[in-house]
Symmetry: C2
Subunit: 220 residues, 2 copies
């Protein structure tokens, strides 16, 4: 089980995410789009990952991540999320600034480093976006998460994650006052455009668009 290159790790991560934790088959084009690269490059890489038995690849039929690949992907995800916690908790970054840096840090190879970092951070179970951090064995528990858009009127929730992690969106949330851990109550739903009115922390009334409502995830 030799070391994977940065590129290989990134492809594996993409396959893992797109396959919904390894269940579904993933198409070449969807990987290309996710990684902002060309389908030809993806085909090539899938062939190589397949030789390393990280994925099960049938030409023209898409790809499925293997157990071996899932383990590898989960370790990269673990590192990514631990570093995000470090950046926010210790280095005072905002949650919308950490992704890019964690994309680099996630490829540092040293099991001892990650163990020590995990200790230092107090074994966090979720990253600053509310996503769960896999343990050394790749195990983690998901909080059941629902988009605000699907919460019924007068339903309560706590913001635990966002679907879209793009920086502009996160900045918008900051601006209107939605943050991780905020308590929400849906006070009105507008049928024709999917927008809604919510109460944040029991005091701030907010009108949010369909786009926002669909991308903010809450537990209930």
């Amino acid at each position: 089980m030799k070391k994977l290159s940065f590129a290989e790790e990134n492809y594996l991560k993409a396959v893992y995410h797109l396959s919904n934790a390894g269940e579904l088959d993933v198409s070449t084009n969807s990987i290309a789009e996710e990684m902002d690269t060309k389908a030809a490059s993806v085909s090539d890489m899938l062939r190589r990952l397949s030789e390393k038995e990280m994925v099960v690849y049938r030409k023209y039929q898409g790809v499925k991540i293997s157990e071996k690949g899932k383990t590898a992907a989960l370790q990269v995800i673990r590192k990514h999320r631990l570093w995000e916690v470090f950046l926010v908790e210790k280095l005072k970054f905002n949650w919308d600034q950490v992704h890019e840096i964690a994309e680099q840090l996630e490829h540092i190879k040293s099991p001892l480093l990650i163990q020590r970092l995990d200790d230092f951070l107090g074994h966090p179970k979720f990253d600053p976006h509310g996503d769960p951090i896999p343990d050394e064995n790749g195990l983690f528990k998901e909080k059941p998460q629902v988009p605000l858009a699907e919460v019924e009127i007068s339903g309560d929730g706590i913001v635990v994650a966002v679907k879209d992690t793009n920086s502009m969106f996160l900045q918008h949330l900051d601006r209107i006052g939605i943050y991780l851990g905020a308590k929400t109550k849906v006070t009105e739903k507008v049928e024709f455009d999917g927008s809604m009115e919510i109460l944040v922390d029991g005091k701030n009334k907010l009108f949010i668009s369909k786009e926002v409502a669909e991308n903010v995830l809450v537990t209930h």
Copy 2:
């Protein structure tokens, strides 16, 4: 001033170190030896670094690092040493375990990250091996450092650095009880083999070989 690759950064660092902070010309072979690679690879890379104006390269005459190159090298060195402080101070690594990991971390690209890390660590001026940490502008102050071997009898000192940073040597120092910050007094010098007797922290009498005495640096 585009981004440098990992390999380019490593070559620049090697040139900087071998040239004694950029003063001397450096030979192709010495770089190859330092980097554990072949002279042909070095020639190639020097040509590329020269095109980017990071070094001044005259065929068959060796290279000199340029101002631009020196700036770049010092930023990598700054990052390396800050990460080493982080690993030792925050993650409880021993000083002989941090080099390899810092070799990876030094290539992470984010000026803001390094600024925040520096803040978090309280703007340290020296790394765990006693080497100075350049500031954002590449400036730093050297402590005047002398090998123990050159200290006269009854001379006092404080261990501030080691010349040889190889892991086996550092472990040996740990074992015999020499550490960064230890107070030393030379109590006897044996002429014919260069060994000596020293008193560490005023209480531990140690006999050290010529090899050790030449590689442990003290301020006085």
